[in-house]
Assembly symmetry: C3
Homo-oligomer: 138 residues x 3
């Protein structure tokens, strides 16, 4: 049971798709199993994070921008892979620091997420992109 | 085959539960399979780390406290999500940097951990918490 | 369906084994399923990253060397776990920041990797090591 979900992004931000993942699980009518998410890119990430206060997402994005600044920032002058733009190598680094795959147990027909857990696509590039996430149930 | 393990935490530290995971696998009498661990929170993490020298855990905790200081630290004045306390947003950030799910193959009825690998719940909050980890075998 | 892949490393670098993973999947003749990779060590990591431009690997290694310097670097004087050498505790920290397990769906008999995604063993120690990665298909 597999599906490829396409998410359109418009710049660096977190894009929630908890609803799509829940719908996929419901449609498959699986009572117990394992949902695996896999993102087919190296400049964006998956992330499970709090989905209550939107400030969490703002701070999350800010933290990673400070930890891995744009490659035209003086502190990043050592970066060699620059020809795809100053947001490219930082995007690869962020995609190493954050999950490319996630596994979530299915319990009683529902995703085993905690009360405050939402599932996000974290876009690390500035330009709009079409991102593919594989949803897979065993 | 699923179980929810509850771990009581008393402040920021690593809490080992390798034994609980091994017991769960043994009880299910699975010869070959996959154990998935999933933590149902956004302010603590799972971690597989060396379980020989306790200094590793001390240094690990220290590294993450320095990488993501408390939000009342001058370097963190940009944080907006502060009303749940100065350890809250840093906890969310650490939970993004460290695993929320882990998959460990089961070989010949045992977890395929390396000799020095232990499984930990890494608590990022200061106050005591009850943390739930889903153990799931396929 | 399981196999242990041994990778010989010669110092800190990324060692690609996408071909080995693809061959393992092909040999098992699985149409649809899930490949799990698990590294049995706490001083090296798995990583899915761009495999087009080799500069990406150079910059990736450099970023992590700067984020987690050798423990004989003045900024790391707080490290206590030093008796296995100045690259040891930093290796444990990098292995916490980067994946120990990865799950990749298998679609139509092939790994569901994106066009530019390669699979790497990221060695964090200076001396040569033999590293074991479990390949597991469900």
């Amino acid at each position: 049971m597999q599906q490829v979900l396409t998410i359109e992004t418009r710049g660096q931000a977190l894009y929630e798709f908890t609803g799509d993942a829940k719908n996929f699980v419901k449609k498959q009518e699986v009572e117990t199993g394992l949902l695996t998410l896999f993102v087919r890119h190296t400049s964006c990430s998956l992330l499970i994070q709090e989905n209550a206060d939107p400030e969490v997402q703002v701070d999350m994005k800010e933290f990673f921008s400070r930890l891995v600044p744009s490659s035209d920032h003086p502190s990043m002058s050592w970066i060699t892979h620059t020809y795809e733009g100053p947001d490219d190598m930082p995007a690869h680094i962020k995609s190493a620091l954050l999950p490319v795959s996630l596994s979530i147990p299915i319990i009683n027909g529902s995703l085993g997420l905690g009360t405050w857990q939402g599932i996000y696509l974290f876009e690390h590039r500035n330009m709009p992109h079409r991102r593919n996430v594989i949803l897979h149930i065993l």
